[in-house]
């Protein structure tokens, strides 16, 4: 379970943060391509940091919940604007 959290949940959370970052920057007026390139490059560092955290967190259940919460929050910020017809 710990390994799954490190590999997959941390990736899902990083992915969601990238999505949220891209959406935010585009709303902030940045070019789409610039927003994506910047966020995706930083996304790898975010993933590594999250993976290290997932390996180090003392208790598993709060860790999994936190990663799931980040994933849900990031996805919401990332995709809601386009669903609501914005951006």
């Amino acid at each position: 379970m710990r390994v799954l959290a490190i590999v997959f949940l941390a990736y899902a959370a990083a992915s969601a943060i990238v999505a949220a970052g891209v959406a935010t920057l585009i709303l902030g007026g940045l070019d789409r391509s610039d927003a994506f390139t910047a966020c995706s490059i930083l996304g790898f560092l975010v993933y590594v940091v999250l993976a290290l955290w997932a390996a180090a967190a003392p208790r598993l259940v709060p860790l999994v919940l936190a990663l799931l919460a980040i994933t849900a929050g990031g996805t919401a910020i990332g995709f809601l604007p386009s669903l609501m017809g914005g951006a």
């Binding site: 992915s15 070019d31 994506f36 390139t37 993976a51 180090a56």
Partner: protein
């Protein structure tokens, strides 16, 4: 995981290293080979051993030839030579798939086709796809390995209590465990920046594959939208009306070259040949700078008038700089050798890591009667030494197979690849069955195969070391020299391991290992 942060990092470093070690070695090893991918191409495809030092080339004479080769609607391209890749080729889509016709750039006469996938078409794709195409699995595994390498770099630093002391200590200890640990951390310290930058730049190249989430958010058209926006690609549709003949390609190249400040072109591609809306793309060579430039000009095919000049955004240039840093296609021989040496150091790092894992647990495994240590020892030998043997067998079989060889429905380049994977699998089998002497055996075989490859090159192509040097075929001579150096290192390692084994007249299973890959 552990009680403290440092112990957790130790846990992560130990187990992630073990699980992705073989994968990482395969990627590091092929990446190291790819530093000299074009040189391997020359060695394995003797018809392309042309000495070309950048003389200007007129390509207008190729227009008819190209049209004859590619009468269909698909675009065709002329790829211009460089001194490392001295063949000019015309690429086009034939009924059987993508085809290339090779030409000598000095005489414009066709030369025999390249029958081996060699460096650029075998090792290079292996490096980033592992030749696993199903569900893009290889690409994702490589990405995971890249991220794992970054995590290993960071956790590897954290687990040391006395960072400076530990990193700069190399004790000439007779005790394998301590020696291996010192070698591992010294290699890690020396190459730390390189390993981190390579794994980071490696994953960023395919950022749009690894982060589809961001692509979905930003671009309506998914990945194609990404490519169109980011690389500012120009296109115009076919009109389906016959157009005037193709104008002078040389004139288009000349005007692009002038705008680029004298940079050589790398590729000239013609779209919708013969149509009223036909157009020509002229791309710069990627040899001139670290940054992998792809800012082409687009010309009207008939008049040669500039239709569009691609503008690459600053952010994208940052990414292309990272990409270029990783691809090492820029012209700089000193740096190229430094990359090669650091790549080998990375391979060494992985091997010593494996062996340290085994040594640290040897007593515990012995006490518990566990076979885990033996399994990992075999895994390490097959995954690292075996990879080297597979590569050498790939070179040897390339010089043995006759032109046009087929076997069981496989053509020549496929046979070479089968041999590569066959030898790799056999090395694992050998490592698990011979355990205690696996390293010694594999070192001897590696030395023999290297010498054999050099000898076969001289015999089958006539380009033995002295002749290749005299003719200025530095790629061929260089590869022979590296093979001979490798043979020497492998033989030396085998001999020293053997002596060590003989000098240790202690009872059972007290064999010692030295972390050395040929």
């Amino acid at each position: 995981m552990g009680a403290t942060f440092r112990e957790s990092m130790d846990w992560l470093h130990t187990w992630a290293g073990l699980v992705v070690g073989v994968l990482l070695f395969a990627i590091f090893w092929t990446g190291t080979l790819c530093v000299f991918d074009r040189e391997i191409d020359r060695w394995m495809n003797p018809s392309t051993r042309i000495v070309y030092s950048g003389e200007p080339i007129a390509i207008d004479g190729l227009r008819e030839e190209a049209t004859r080769l590619s009468p269909r609607a698909a675009p065709w391209a002329i790829v211009l030579p460089t001194s490392r890749d001295p063949v000019l080729w015309i690429g086009y889509r034939a009924r059987t798939g993508f085809e290339r016709t090779l030409l000598d750039p000095l005489t414009m006469k066709p030369i025999a086709p390249a029958e081996s996938w060699a460096g650029t078409r075998f090792f290079f794709p292996f490096h980033h796809t592992l030749h696993l195409k199903m569900w893009n699995l290889g690409t994702w595994l490589t990405g995971l390995a890249g991220a794992a390498m970054m995590a290993l770099c960071i956790s590897g630093v954290i687990i040391h209590r006395k960072i400076f002391v530990d990193f700069f200590t190399l004790r000439r200890s007779r005790q394998p465990q301590r020696l291996l640990l010192d070698l591992h951390s010294t290699a890690g310290t020396l190459g730390f920046i390189f390993f981190f930058v390579m794994s980071f730049s490696g994953v960023t190249i395919l950022a749009s594959v690894y982060f589809p989430s961001g692509v979905w958010v930003a671009f309506d058209g998914g990945r194609s939208g990404y490519v169109k926006d980011t690389y500012d690609v120009f296109s115009r549709p076919r009109l389906n009306q016959p157009g005037p003949p193709l104008g002078s390609l040389d004139a288009m190249v000349a005007s692009a070259r002038e705008a680029w400040g004298g940079l050589n072109p790398g590729l000239v591609r013609v779209f919708h040949h013969g149509d009223r809306n036909s157009y020509v793309e002229v791309r710069p060579s990627i040899e001139a700078a670290v940054n992998m430039r792809t800012d082409p000009f687009f010309f009207d095919a008939a008049t040669g008038e500039v239709l569009y000049r691609t503008y690459i955004r600053d952010t994208t240039q940052v990414q292309m700089f990272l990409t270029g840093l990783h691809f090492t296609q820029f012209r700089h021989w000193t740096l190229r050798w430094v990359y090669f040496a650091l790549g080998l150091l990375g391979c060494f790092l992985i091997v010593t890591g494996f062996l340290f894992w085994v040594e640290r647990r040897r007593k515990a495994h012995l006490a518990a009667g566990s076979d885990a240590g033996r399994f990992v020892e075999g895994l390490a030998a097959g995954g690292t030494g075996g990879m080297v043997l597979a590569t050498l067998a790939f070179f040897v079989v390339n010089r043995l197979l006759p032109s046009g060889a087929t076997f069981l429905g496989g053509v020549r380049y496929e046979l070479e690849i089968w041999v590569f994977f066959g030898v790799w699998v056999l090395s694992f089998v050998h490592a698990w069955t011979r355990r205690t002497t696996a390293w010694i055996d594999q070192c001897w075989v590696a030395a023999a195969l290297s010498v054999l490859a050099v000898a076969l090159n001289g015999l089958t192509t006539g380009d033995h070391l002295f002749r290749a040097l005299a003719d200025g075929k530095l790629a061929v001579a260089g590869m022979d020299l590296v093979l001979l150096a490798g043979a020497f290192a492998a033989a030396l390692t085998a001999w020293r391991l053997l002596r060590r084994r003989q000098s240790l007249n202690e009872p059972i299973s007290h064999h010692r290992l030295e972390g050395q890959s040929p």
